[in-house]
């Protein structure tokens, strides 16, 4: 059974991707009413990324580092830690700042997003980036969990 911290980390991470997906969808054809929802989704997405960051970091330092990492490195697939986990834990650090940037632009332009196509396109591009990095990080998380199971510690 998975550690509850891993479940919270993964769940908040996936929900944050979903929040920015909603921002993206709402921004494709925005209306006055949608602007309010877009702001709420962006703020929720950013908060969820921070929760995922904190919980994942606590799990990484407390459980993964001492128990899981050595087993994976000594197991049949050491690259799971050396390449996948190392990449995941550092690329993840980009997400909170990209989320703050996207949310900052949304809150600053507010209803101006309806008329300013450049600003809207920029936020759409940022959402795509956040979603793609989020999905990549989630995929890497799945690989690490599988690697831990193969190493006998998952």
């Amino acid at each position: 059974m998975s550690n509850p911290l891993v479940v919270i980390h993964a769940l908040t991470g996936v929900l944050s991707i979903f929040a920015f997906l909603l921002v993206f969808v709402e921004l494709l054809s925005p209306s006055e009413k949608a602007i309010g929802r877009i702001k709420i989704f962006a703020i929720i997405g950013t908060i969820l990324i921070f929760i995922s960051w904190t919980v994942g970091g606590y799990y990484y330092v407390t459980y993964y580092g001492p128990d899981i990492k050595p087993a994976i490195k000594e197991g049949p697939n050491p690259w799971i830690h050396s390449v996948v986990m190392e990449t995941k834990e550092h690329v993840f650090l980009f997400l909170p700042f990209l989320a703050i940037l996207a949310t900052g632009v949304i809150l600053s332009y507010d209803a101006g997003l309806l008329e300013n196509n450049k600003a809207r396109s920029s936020v759409l591009a940022l959402c795509v980036l956040i979603i793609l990095i989020g999905l990549a990080v989630a995929g890497m998380g799945y690989m690490i969990s599988a690697g831990a199971r193969v190493a006998g510690v998952g």
């Binding site: 650090l93 909170p96 700042f97 940022l126 990095i133």
Partner: protein
């Protein structure tokens, strides 16, 4: 709520550069990794805290000098390019590091 978007862009770009730099330097130099570890007890936690503090400080520093917050959409594209490059550099570095 209104942010200085130019400053937000610059601080995002510089923070991502800092994360990439700290990550690679930490792997190439044991003494630097030990230094990072000594701050909080774990090098990754230090990188996390440092990047957050750096982001906030850079935002307020640039906000004091750059006042025109709008018309900076091209900077968002720069932030996206830096993010993609940063991710590719980190992945490429760890793949190279593992193979050698």
């Amino acid at each position: 709520m209104r942010f200085n978007i130019k400053s937000l862009n610059y601080s995002t770009i510089l923070t991502i550069c800092l994360i990439v730099l700290l990550t690679i330097l930490g792997e190439l130099s044991d003494s630097f990794k030990t230094l990072l570890t000594s701050v909080t007890g774990h090098h990754w936690v230090t990188k996390s805290v440092l990047s957050l503090i750096f982001f906030v400080v850079i935002y307020f520093l640039i906000s004091k000098t750059v006042k025109d917050w709008a018309d900076s959409n091209h900077l968002i594209i720069d932030a996206i390019v830096v993010t993609l490059l940063g991710g590719a550099i980190i992945f490429g570095f760890y793949a190279w590091h593992f193979m050698h």
